[in-house]
Symmetry: C2
Subunit: 331 residues, 2 copies
Amino acid sequence: MRYLTRWLKISRCKLMNETELIHQIIADLGEQTQGETVMVGPGDDAAVVQWNTTDNIVVTTDTFVVDRHFSEDTPGDLVGYRCIAATLSDVVAMSARPCYVTVALTVETNSQDWVFEFVKGVRTCCAETNTRIIGGNMACGNKSATVSAIGLVPDSTYVRRDTVCNGDDIWLTGTLGATKLAISANVDWQPKPLEELLQKRDNCFMAAYFLPRVRIEFVEKIRSYVTAMTDISDGLQTELEHMIRSSNLGARIDVEQVNMWDRRHKAHTLGCDDSYELLFTLPKAKRTKLEQNASETNTECRCIGEITSTRGVKFFDNGQEIFPVSGYSHF
Amino acid sequence: MRYLTRWLKISRCKLMNETELIHQIIADLGEQTQGETVMVGPGDDAAVVQWNTTDNIVVTTDTFVVDRHFSEDTPGDLVGYRCIAATLSDVVAMSARPCYVTVALTVETNSQDWVFEFVKGVRTCCAETNTRIIGGNMACGNKSATVSAIGLVPDSTYVRRDTVCNGDDIWLTGTLGATKLAISANVDWQPKPLEELLQKRDNCFMAAYFLPRVRIEFVEKIRSYVTAMTDISDGLQTELEHMIRSSNLGARIDVEQVNMWDRRHKAHTLGCDDSYELLFTLPKAKRTKLEQNASETNTECRCIGEITSTRGVKFFDNGQEIFPVSGYSHF
C-alpha cells in the first residue's frame, strides 16, 4: 500500500510557480487585504488582526488534498491529526497560542468509517493542544480537508517571518527528514494505531511524520526576544528564502548542525521536508536565554547558521557548499 | 452549457443523512467542542466565542465543490462572489458584522485564468461588504473553495437559530426560488459580466442566484429584538426544522406570503432553495419596529407565518396544506 503520494507530483508542468501565483493573487486583491486593524495580511504563516488595544488574533487556513498530501488509503486518524497539527503550527509560528479550529471536510458518500477515524485524529490533536473545535462543514467530493485556526497573542508580541537582522543566529527545533523516509517506506508500512504512534515520535520517523509536535509552551517563552520565525512546511531552503526575501540579507547554514533522521538524504531533507519544526532567528546575546527556555520546555533546539549580509541562502557541509533538491511547490 | 449541477446529485444512496452525520461527529468530538469561552459551538449557522467582557467573535466555514455547488464551466468571478456571500451570510445570521475572511482554493494546475476570475469575484463581494481577505491557501486538485469568515458582535447580542418562542411571528427577507429557475435555465444561459449582473439582482434570477445579498445593516438594526434567526441555505422547510428542533414547538407558514420568483415551482422553492435570505422570528409587539427597520435599510421583508405549540412544520396555501420537495442534503 502507498500511504503518501505528494512527491510523485512535484515535477509536473507549471505555468506559474506557487510563490508567483500567490503574489499575483495578493496583488489582485489589493486594498481588500489591508485595513487599519490588519497588522499582518496574507503572505506570512498566518494573519494578525488587532482586536483591542492589547490583544491580537492570529488566523490561518490550510488545505490537505487526497493524492497530494495523503493517499487514498491513509488511515483517517493519522490524516486528521496531521491536518490539525500542521495548521496549528502556522499559528504557533507567529508566536500565538492556538485556541479554536474549524474543520471543513469533503469526502465521498461511502466514506463514513473513514470520517469517524478522521474525527478521532482531530479530537486527539485538539485535546493535546487544548484547542476547541468550534465549527465545520461536510461536503461531498474527492477527499480533502481545510482547517482554519484562530490563536491569541497578547501585547502585539507576534513574530513575523521576514524581520531577520544581519548577524542573527538561525535556530531550528527538532529533527528534519521524516518526510523523505516516510515516502520511501510507506509502500510496505502497516499503519499502527494512533495511540501507539503517539508514544514513538522521538524514535519512529512514521510517527514523527504523521504526528508533528505543536510547540506551544516553547514559543510562549521565546516570543519576546526572537527576531523572526516560521515553520518548515515547504523545505528549509524555501522557508529561509521567504525569511530573507524582503531584506538585502542572506543566510548561511552549517548542514552538520541540522538534526536529520538519515544524513544520507541531506539534499532532500534540506529542500523538501515538511516536518512543521520551527525555524527562527535571534541575536547572539540571547543564546543563553534560548538554551534555558529550550531546556525548561524539553525542546530539542540547535543553532544551525547565521543571517549574513551576502544575499541568498547557502548550505555548507564540512566546508563544502551543497545544493538542496528544490523545495516542494503545490503548483 | 450547464452551469449548475448540484440538483442532479440529490437522490444518490446514503447510509446516514447529513444531519445525522453531523450530529454524530459533534457527539464524537465531545468536550473538545466545549469550553468556558465557547458561547455557541458547532451546529448553528456559526460559532460564537467570547473574546473579552463585551465582544464576541463569530466564526464559520463553508466549502463549495465543483459538480456539487457549481459546474466546471461556471465563470470564476460568479463562483468567487457566491462563495464569499454565502459564507458571510452565516455570520450575519448570528447577527454579527463580518470583518475578515480566509479563502482556501483548490484547482487544477491549468486553471490560472479561472483563478484570477475567482479572485475578482472574491474581491468584489468583500469590497461590497467591507470585509478584508486576511489569508488563504492554494492547493492542487479538483476545483473547490473553502471560505472561513470571522465577524464581531458586541455585548452578547448574537442571535441563535433555536431560541424561538411560541406565538412569535416568522419573517423572511427577499424572494425565494432563484435556485430552481437557475438550475432549469443554465443549460442555455450565456454568462454575463459580474458588473452587469450586480445591477440586475432585483429582476434577474440568475443575478439573484449568483450574487446573494449580505444584509449587514438590516441585521445590526434588528438584532436586539429578534428571538431567533438563520439563513436559507438548505431550503425553508429544513431551516424551520432546525429552528424548532430543540423545542416542543412547531411552525405554520402561509405560502401566499412567501415571495417567490415563480409560484409554479412552490414545492421546490419551499424545500430546496439556497438563496441565503434571512429567516427570523420576533414577538408580534415588535412588528412595527421591524417594518420601520426594514424600510430604513431598504430590505424587502414579509411576515410568512407563526411559531405554534403544535410540533412540526406545516405549509398552507390558500387554506390547503402543501408538502415541499425534500430539502437539499449534502450527503
